[in-house]
Assembly symmetry: D2
Homo-oligomer: 383 residues x 4
């Protein structure tokens, strides 16, 4: 598929995600880590405007001189910006004005993409599309978080088949023998800079499960007192649990003795056979400890991934997010994409049912702080 | 005007205030002290539903069983409620659903108000209307605060003549002789419980200005270093100023050496002859100190009010909000209206250009914490 | 008694208070509102050094050039200072060095006080002595707070007769008729600036109790659910109670069904006949509400005081700490003594068993924030 | 040396460290991460009492039944404890009482250690001694922090030769070739559980410097604007710098254009040839970025360590503190020693001039949060 078709496909998919929303749903920021849908729609357009159109489309004019300030996320090199925690205060520009902004950028991008392009421009556009795909997943998790905090528990879309990958396809485990293995992206398609620095690692014998932990298995942990036994928890995990009075995964509720959870289809009974989701790293570690097992490292995961059915949950690993040997960040604002976050975050591998089509790879390194629950995270055990 | 006509008039005025808003503008809560327009529209209807319709209209059915939880403000006796700081998280019910709620309540109220009513029901409805008028003023101040934080500074209504009372009508001062005076509401119309407890006070000779402090006078204070001389400030005022880096009234900006401010008509040049607005009590006290004068007490204000043109700004007094002798709060939830706030707040007297028609009296006691700036507050000096 | 003898008497009394302390007890700051004993010993000497010796004793040399920075409390006009919350970090100068500082100042003061002095110097010295007496009371309350937080509950002095005023001498009530009364200090001895501005007030009929509320009466309130009924509490009082999980007065503990409290003599059984102490204004208000009575205003208290046995507890009034008509603060640093605290604090009248001899007057206005519990506060009811 | 002699040697050294302290210096807790000397003296004795004497010395009686509560640090399995942030509030027991406690424990330990002992008891005692050695280093860093915050900058010991290792012995670099290497403690002496799990790693070619970064080199970084260029910093490092207004290493001050720093010998001029100390991981990373180099991983460091002169600074590595393959924590309270801290901390390798004699090994893994500055940390660059 050529770059113009890719562009159209990705941009259209963003709008599909937003279709079930009411105007009100575009505006609000429920938590600092989540962003309003309206902001994300504008921000992903700002990315193309700032990094592609302004430098590469002659005579391109900004849609609105204030938008770069409003819709820059964290690129210090690209100028000042609205504080992350204040994105939800912006009722203007309205959703309609943001739609007009998207169309304006699309028109300019089509004009550009019809031309014969240098490889480095294609590369920038490709990065912009992968950036937008990351925001597609964030849109879904942020919308879920917003609705999940509303006492009315509104359904995002009660008929969606989008999010049906709830069961394990396989059980049992995979054994990998000790040896030297190669890590990192070696293909010639797109990857993020943090996957580069192909290098060797030495892995010892390990065994990794084919299935992810289910709601039923996790209920056993809860009922066995998993949230009250400090010996199972990392010290900061125990503090987090105490301070936030956590006693079950995000979106779970016990109502009159019945386990329920908020889903994108509404408030539903928990099915014990479904794959567990929405846990912090702390919870994943405590569960593994209770099982007498452990989380895999990101390297073990990558090597085993060829023998696993993955893609339903982002899977916590017990690897900190750090640079590979030889990691080099790009020059300028694009260099802020990944490297500066390499502290205090843990790596997740795989992809989730909310990940956009064509946006997953065995070498993909996702990363979040250990207390993050609102992504579609899960647990795969190893030993 | 009979109670049904009053009801229609007040309820209609609320909707007029909201007319210039876009759907997005109804949703957001920019600060804990401000509430979303949508919430206020629903809350003022909830007040009638809870305190009038449920107890007094036979067979009245709740519009929605979850709304009491969503739209109760602070009435502990009326059940649980969404935390004040979380009102802005509710994208649902939508603005349209809230409009339907208002109409549903209005229909039921009309049905009730067509009947012959006991005096105590009329009294409750009247309280509900004055409550709604208080929210009309809050709607305007909260909308202004929301737009004033938006870097785009959107105008609320650029043609409005609503808010034009910007000039002093008189100057000079009024002298009041020492003696015993009577304080409190003595009429037979509506007043709040905190105005009752008519009682005598002894006032010493004092003099109070007919005009309010203007932008120009306050600019002199700024330029004389008023915000940098701790001797002018209350100790907690100085801490507030330091911690929040305050150096001018709310909505003021110095842009390229030009003094500008955000107004409901948009971002405009400050006119030195206009009456100053949007100051905290701390700023009012520091200004008075710098002038070698003082703020009046609420009793001085009330006694002098007959000789003053007032109603353009809420005027800070140096009286703490405390009960009058013989103050008695009502039974039940209505008793939570005023009495429980009688600590750490200062009394404001008068009314502002944002106050609803027919909603001011010389005995009216408004009250805010000394750091509040977002109301249409001003300064009247005494000595 | 001449000023030199007064000086010796007050300064000696400070050291008597400290006699039961170990070196370790002089250093620590357990809460921001409390100060280390060592700091208070130095600060009260700094007051004489700064405001009396430096300006009035020729050739006086600072004991240590860093001490003014270390031991200034809140006088912005007297230079920079260590932040209040950091006073407990200063292990040096040692207690011995602070004693040497006191002696150095004393020697210089004796030298000065042997001379014939201008009235304004005598007045400054007198202010310094009253200032030191205020710190004597703070020393006792801060020491009690420090020991009361220590799980070992060390006794300050198990043999002390200092603090024995625990019983009501009288019961019944005093009735005061409506009329115009005069408030403020009219003698020719010492008083603080906030007692001046003698003025008239109009009081309505009221009745005030001769006895203070006892532990036994307060236990009834606790057992009747006083701490769980929000209708009894000011709104901010209820928040304070919830946030700090308050369910009894400071220093009270329920141990195996037995009511105990920490006292300066150690951990003891609560005696129901003793006068209640260590409550916040919020608790005093809730108790009065529960009793169907109220707290007196500071004016009522002052007028009734001639007919009351007072001096065992500081008594909360329902008057905010505000200036009297005609209040004028002194020039310079001394002017920061009182006026700048006239916001968000409530007036207490009387004196407590921890108040220094000769340091109480019917017109004395003490003041604290409504959440303060660590002073020897009590409740006198009125209606 | 037998275990009794080792015990005496280590316990005596603790007291030597405290010799220059005044009584006041034992009490205070200046920051949550630091502990009072008195607390540390008691806590290291509590360790022996709880884990060695109570279970293994028949008829041993607790010195004081409250001390376990007071002096437990973080061992949930060993019962309740005083909150970490409140250790500085305990003026009692006094320093003398804590000395008596130490002697009481020593006497009992000598009694026990004179007997023929099972290997597992010797192992526990050895762990207790290494634990005490860790506190010896903490004593020095905490004392330095306490004095360094005091505006008087008191010297800990102006004659000490304890802390003289300030210069690099070598310069140049070491090159290590690509290959499989073995990591972890393989000797038969003592090591912590986190050094076990000997395992292989694959290292790529790297080069590591023989000398540590000096004050002079770091001054160049400061003067080149290192603290103002966000491109050099990790995102959370930049937030940390902004929030804490950091613009130089801990203890540095610029006084009248002269670079000074607080040292254990007092306030001194900075010597440019001395090795830099007291930086956070964030500062170390930013400096390395500015140099176009990087920090080594802990594995690179361990493999190169045989060819390096180390032991002057704890050296930050760019490795997160995580378990080695096969890591197993001990049963019971001792199991809380290391494993539960394996999140959000970075590994430091080496040892510092404040590390106790015989308390360093090439496999030793120290760990701190990336913002920690108060340890004697330094920078070794790699590429």
């Amino acid at each position: 598929m050529d770059i113009l078709d890719q562009y159209k496909e990705v941009r259209t998919y963003t709008e599909q995600i937003c279709k079930p929303l009411q105007t009100e749903d575009y505006v609000v920021q429920v938590a600092e880590f989540a962003s309003p849908a309206k902001w994300q729609l504008a921000h992903s357009s700002w990315f193309f405007e700032t990094f592609v159109l302004l430098p590469h489309l002659p005579d391109y004019k900004l849609f609105n001189k204030d938008f770069p300030y409003l819709f820059n996320s964290y690129y210090n090199n690209a100028g000042n910006r609205v504080l992350r925690a204040k994105r939800g205060n912006l009722t203007r520009p309205t959703t309609d004005e943001v739609s007009a902004y998207r169309q304006y950028v699309d028109t300019a991008m089509w004009q550009l993409l019809h031309q014969k392009l240098d490889a480095d421009i294609v590369q920038l556009v490709t990065l912009g599309l992968h950036h937008e795909q990351q925001h597609q997943e964030l849109l879904l998790s942020d919308i879920k978080y917003m609705f999940g905090q509303n006492p009315l528990f509104p359904a995002y879309d009660s008929d969606t088949s989008l999010l049906d990958q709830e069961r394990n396809i396989e059980t049992g485990s995979v054994k990998i023998p000790e040896g030297v293995y190669t890590i990192g992206y070696q293909g010639d398609g797109f990857c993020f800079d943090n996957e580069l620095g192909v290098h060797k690692v030495y892995l010892h014998d390990f065994e990794i499960q084919k299935g992810l932990v289910t709601n039923g298995e996790y209920l056993e942990f809860i009922e066995a007192g998993g949230y009250t036994d400090f010996n199972l928890w990392l010290d900061e995990g125990w503090s987090w649990l105490k301070q936030n009075q956590v006693s079950m995964p995000l979106y779970w509720h016990e109502v009159d003795g019945q386990w329920m959870h908020y889903t994108l289809k509404g408030f539903q009974k928990i099915n014990e056979n479904d794959i567990l989701k929405h846990l912090s790293f702390y919870e994943a570690m405590a569960f593994a400890e209770w099982k007498g097992m452990r989380l895999p490292t990101e390297f073990e995961w990558e090597i085993a991934s060829g023998q696993l059915n993955w893609g339903q949950r982002w899977e916590w690993t017990n690897s900190a997010y750090l640079p590979y040997p030889g990691f080099k960040k790009a020059d300028g604002a694009i260099g802020e994409y990944n490297g500066k976050f390499m502290i205090n975050q843990m790596v997740l591998r795989g992809a989730s049912m909310a990940t956009s089509p064509k946006h997953s790879r065995p070498t993909y390194r996702n990363f979040f702080h250990p207390n993050a629950q609102w992504q579609f995270t899960g647990i795969r055990l190893a030993k």
